[in-house]
C-alpha cells in the first residue's frame, strides 16, 4: 500500500478511528495496530507476513532469554544467534542472487564452465529496515539499555508498526516501546505538525520526485551514452534532488501519520545538502540509519578508541556495509567505499570538524564541494552497473550531443527541490504553528484543498518510493 493513494487514505481513517476509540485498553489498541500493520504489509504480498511474524518472534525469544540469563557468555551466545538469524534472513532474501551471480562471474572469468543455478528470490519489501530494528532491540536488551519486553504484542508492534515499516525511519525500541506501554494522550495530539509533514511529504514525492524521475533522470540513467555534459549534469543534480525528495517524503509522511496516531519519532533528514563535510552529511542524511550504524557497528568495532589506523578501518568497514545494506550490487558497495574513503580523508586532514569559525565563503565552498562529491557518488548508486556509471562519467566529454533537458520545467523543479535546503530548518514547525491558529475545520479544509492541488500537479499514477527496493 503506497502512502499517496486513496487506498491508504481510507485505511488510515479506519485505523485512526479504531486506535483512538480503543485508547483506554492498551492490549486492544496494540492488537488493532498490529492487525493494521500486517494488513498494510500483506497488501504487497501476504506470504511475507509470516516472515515478519517469524522475525518478531525470534527477536522476542532472544530478548527474553538474554534478559533472564546472568552468565555473560550465555547472554552473548544468544545475542550472536539472534544477529545470525536476523542477518541470515536478510542475507538469504537480499544477497543470495548477488552472491550466485558474483561467483558465476568469477568462475567464468577463470575459464570454468560450471555455473551455480540462479535462484529467483523475491525481496520482501522493508526487510532491511525491520531486520535492523530487530537487531537493535536484541542488542539494547543485551546492553541492558532496555528490559526485554514481557508481552509478545510489544515486539510484534515494534517490528511491524506500519508508518515506518517498509522504508524507515529505523526507530529504536527505547524510543518506541515506552510509547506503547502507556495510553496515548488524547488532549495532546500533534495534528497540525503531522498534517504539515504529510502535505510537505506528498508535495516532495508526488510533484518533485515523480516528475524529475519520469521526465529526466530515468531516461538519462537508462542509457547515458546519448547525452552530453549539460544533460548529464542536470540528471545527476536531478537524481540528488529526486532521492532526497522521495526518501525524505516517505519519512515525513511516516512521522506525520505516526503523530496523528499519538506516536512521536525524530526527523530523519535535516537539510543534508547543506552539509559542510561528509561527516556532517551523515549527521543530516537518513539520520536513523547513520546513528544505527554508529551505535551497532562502528562503536562495537572499536570506533576511534583503538588508534588512528584501526579507526580508519572501522570507518571503512562501516561505510562498506552501509553501502551494501542499500542494495545487493557492486555499485552500492563502491558507493559505500567512496563515502568511507571521504570520511577517512576528512579525518586525516582534520576537515570533518567544520565549525562556526569558518568564513562565509569557506562555508559556501565546503558545501558546494561536499554536494558535488555526494552527486558523484550518486552516479554509482543510481546506475544499473559499473559499465553504465563509467559511460555516464565519460559522457561529460561528449560535447557533440544536443542539450535536451535544460527546459524551464526541469530547471524549475530542481530549484524548488533545492529550496527545501535553504528554507529555515524549522519550516515545518513554523507552518504548523500558523496552521494551528485556524479553527480545526478550517485546518482540515485547507489541508484537503492542498492535497487536491498536489494531486492535480503530479503526473498520472504513483511511482513506488526508491527506498522500497532496499
Amino acid at each position: 500500500m503506497l502512502f499517496p493513494t486513496l487506498d491508504f487514505g481510507l485505511f488510515f481513517l479506519i485505523v485512526f478511528a479504531l486506535a483512538w476509540a480503543l485508547r483506554n485498553s492498551l492490549t486492544a489498541r496494540k492488537a488493532v495496530l498490529i492487525v493494521a500493520s500486517y494488513v498494510f504489509y500483506g497488501y504487497w504480498d501476504w506470504r511475507f507476513c509470516f516472515l515478519l511474524a517469524f522475525s518478531s518472534l525470534a527477536n522476542y525469544t532472544a530478548g527474553y532469554w538474554i534478559d533472564r540469563l546472568e552468565d555473560p557468555r550465555q547472554r552473548k551466545l544468544i545475542l550472536i544467534l539472534a544477529v545470525i538469524v536476523n542477518l541470515g534472513l536478510l542475507g538469504y532474501f537480499k544477497y543470495t542472487g548477488f552472491f550466485i551471480e558474483s561467483v558465476n562471474d568469477a568462475a567464468y572469468s577463470l575459464g570454468l564452465e560450471r555455473e551455480i543455478p540462479f535462484l529467483e528470490i523475491i525481496l520482501p519489501v522493508g526487510i532491511s529496515f525491520f531486520t535492523f530494528q530487530g537487531i537493535s532491540y536484541v542488542a539494547d536488551v543485551y546492553r541492558r539499555v532496555i528490559p526485554a519486553s514481557r508481552s509478545i504484542l510489544n515486539v510484534l508492534l515494534y517490528i511491524s508498526f506500519f508508518p515506518q515499516l517498509v522504508a524507515g525511519p529505523i526507530v529504536r525500541a527505547q524510543t518506541f516501546l515506552p510509547q506503547i506501554e502507556k495510553p496515548p494522550e488524547p488532549n495532546r495530539i500533534f495534528a497540525s505538525i503531522g498534517v504539515t509533514l504529510i502535505l510537505v511529504g506528498l508535495f516532495k514525492k508526488v510533484v518533485i520526485a515523480n516528475y524529475i524521475a519520469t521526465e529526466m533522470v530515468d531516461n538519462v540513467f537508462y542509457d547515458p551514452f546519448f547525452y552530453g555534459p549539460i544533460d548529464l549534469l542536470l540528471a545527476v543534480y536531478g537524481y540528488a534532488i529526486q532521492i532526497y525528495c522521495d526518501f525524505s517524503a516517505y519519512s515525513d509522511i511516516a512521522i506525520g501519520v505516526a503523530l496523528l496516531l499519538g506516536f512521536r519519532f525524530q526527523k530523519n533528514f535535516n537539510q543534508p545538502y547543506r552539509a559542510q563535510s561528509i561527516r556532517d552529511f551523515w549527521h543530516r542524511w537518513h539520520i536513523s540509519l547513520s546513528s544505527w550504524l554508529r551505535d551497532y557497528l562502528y562503536i562495537p568495532l572499536g570506533g576511534s578508541r583503538l588508534g588512528p589506523i584501526r579507526t580508519r578501518i572501522n570507518l571503512m568497514v562501516t561505510m562498506l556495509l552501509g553501502g551494501i545494506w542499500h542494495g545487493a550490487a557492486w555499485t552500492f558497495l563502491f558507493w559505500g567505499f567512496l563515502h568511507g574513503l571521504a570520511l577517512v580523508v576528512e579525518r586525516a586532514l582534520g576537515w570533518s570538524e567544520g565549525g562556526a569559525d569558518r568564513s562565509l565563503w569557506r562555508k559556501v565552498l565546503a558545501t558546494v564541494l561536499v554536494f558535488h562529491f555526494v552527486c558523484l557518488t550518486w552516479i554509482f548508486f543510481r546506475s544499473e552497473d559499473f559499465a553504465t556509471s563509467l559511460t555516464y562519467l565519460a559522457g561529460f566529454a561528449n560535447f557533440s550531443a544536443p542539450i535536451e533537458f535544460a527546459t524551464p520545467f526541469i530547471i524549475g523543479l530542481l530549484v524548488i527541490g533545492v529550496s527545501f535546503h535553504f528554507a529555515p530548518h524549522d519550516m515545518v514547525e513554523r507552518t504548523a504553528a500558523g496552521l494551528r491558529r485556524l479553527p480545526p475545520v478550517a485546518q482540515g479544509v485547507l489541508g484537503g484543498l492542498i492535497m487536491v492541488v498536489i494531486d492535480a500537479l503530479g503526473p498520472e499514477g504513483v511511482a513506488p518510493f526508491i527506498y522500497f527496493q532496499f
Partner: protein, 104 residues
C-alpha cells in the same frame, strides 16, 4: 582535532537533538479538534477530488469485490454533482496549468 571522535559524535547528535525533535515545545491538540480537522479535510478532498474518487471506485469494479458496482455508481453520481456545481474545475485548472508548463 578532537581527541575522542566517538564522544564528539555523541555531542554532535546531542546538539542536533532539539533540531530533530519536531514536536519540541509545540502544544498538542485535543482529539475532538483532530476529528473535526480530518472531517473537514475528507469532505473537501471528496468534493474537489471527486474525479479521483470515481477512478478509484472504477478500479474496484475490476476486482472481485462484492458491492463494487454499487460503490462505483455512487462515486460516479457524486462526481456528476460536483461537476454540476463546478468545484472540480480547480483540479482541472491546476492540472492544465502544470501540463502547459511541462510541455512548454
Amino acid at each position: 582535532m578532537t581527541t575522542d571522535p566517538n564522544i564528539d559524535a555523541n555531542a554532535v547528535f546531542q546538539r542536533h537533538k532539539n533540531e530533530l525533535d519536531i514536536t519540541l515545545g509545540a502544544p498538542g491538540q485535543p482529539l475532538k479538534a483532530v476529528v473535526f480537522l480530518l472531517i473537514g479535510g475528507v469532505i473537501v478532498a471528496a468534493m474537489l477530488g471527486s474525479a479521483a474518487l470515481r477512478d478509484w471506485a472504477f478500479e474496484l469494479t475490476l476486482l472481485p469485490i462484492p458491492g463494487a458496482n454499487l460503490v462505483f455508481s455512487a462515486a460516479d453520481q457524486w462526481h456528476g454533482w460536483m461537476e454540476a456545481i463546478g468545484v472540480t474545475q480547480l483540479f482541472d485548472a491546476v492540472h492544465a496549468w502544470i501540463e502547459g508548463w511541462r510541455l512548454g
